[in-house]
Amino acid sequence: MVKEIMLAKKVYIFPCSGVGKVFGSIGREASYIVVNELAKDKAKISCLPLVVKGKKALIDDINENHVIVVDGCPSKCSYNDVKSATGKEPDGQFLSTDVVKYNRDLKPESDIIPLGENAKKLSRKLAEKISEKVGEILDSDKKGGA
């Protein structure tokens, strides 16, 4: 019997990208750091609005992979949007306001275009946490598949 070779799953990262305050932008920036740098080849990003719109190919792909949501406020729009569109509980969820809370010395600037220096530093700290979670999720896959 030929053993099927499973392709490694990836982790989708969906930041809320809220535009009203800087916290949505911190989540967005952190997500780019994860997919471009810290968990390159392990994580990918796509458009949250497209998920909510109901793009079938994207939703199917999310359901075949893993997903982490990154929100900028307690409304947790990304969490709710992804869960509602895919019917799936995200494998991880982050709030950018938490990283602000634990780094009181880095008060984020209100500008979002471009992000201020403190906001960028906070984004990197958040990205490191998201990247750790990506690793945990994929390690758990390996253990489960062993």
Binding site: S17, P49, K53, K55, C73, C77, I113
Partner: protein, 170 residues
């Protein structure tokens, strides 16, 4: 209770994460609400608008605003997710403005990076912002001559009417 805010236009940017167009829409929306028409616009948070079942956090307020006020959607690609959302939850949009149309009008501008806008990306965002502001004036039947020289002092290139891309637009 939903409040009716007179003479305000809602702005909702797609903010798509996957393409540079989404980043451009965010930048343009902020330019309009912060600099060009701060007293005439309300920025609607796209994820909140789209999130269902979040009445206690205000998503219904956003949807009600778009029902009761002219709302402009700004689209980063031809999926037009923002327009689809407004039409689904609030009704017809007042206007839809697309990044792709700006790029067709200004073929010399080639924004490349979705993470942080490069110089061309900022120019496209500024042109888009002017277009949105013009549409707001049209909707509210007002004129704002001072936008002729709209510029962002933080940017090296400021005159968006002469964008330098070879398109011969004023």
């Amino acid at each position: 209770m939903a409040q009716f805010i007179k003479n305000k236009v809602g702005i909702i940017a797609c903010s798509g994460e996957d393409l540079v167009g989404g980043t451009i829409t965010r930048a343009a929306a902020r330019m309009v609400v912060e600099k060009l028409r701060p007293d005439k616009t309300i920025i609607l948070c796209q994820p909140l608008f789209m999130a269902g079942g979040l009445e206690r956090h205000g998503s219904q307020q956003e949807r009600n605003f778009a029902k009761d006020h002219p709302t402009i959607t700004i689209e980063g690609c031809d999926e037009e997710c923002a327009r689809c959302a407004v039409e689904r939850y609030s009704g017809p949009v007042a206007a839809t403005i697309r990044v792709e149309d700006i790029l067709k009008e200004h073929p010399g501008l080639k924004p490349a990076t979705r993470e942080t806008l490069d110089a061309d990306g900022m120019k496209v965002a500024q042109i888009l912002a002017i277009k949105i502001a013009d549409k707001i004036d049209e909707l509210l039947d007002e004129k704002h001559e001072e936008d002729e020289g709209f510029s962002d002092p933080a940017r090296p290139s400021t005159d968006v009417r002469g964008c330098g891309c070879g398109c011969k637009k004023r």
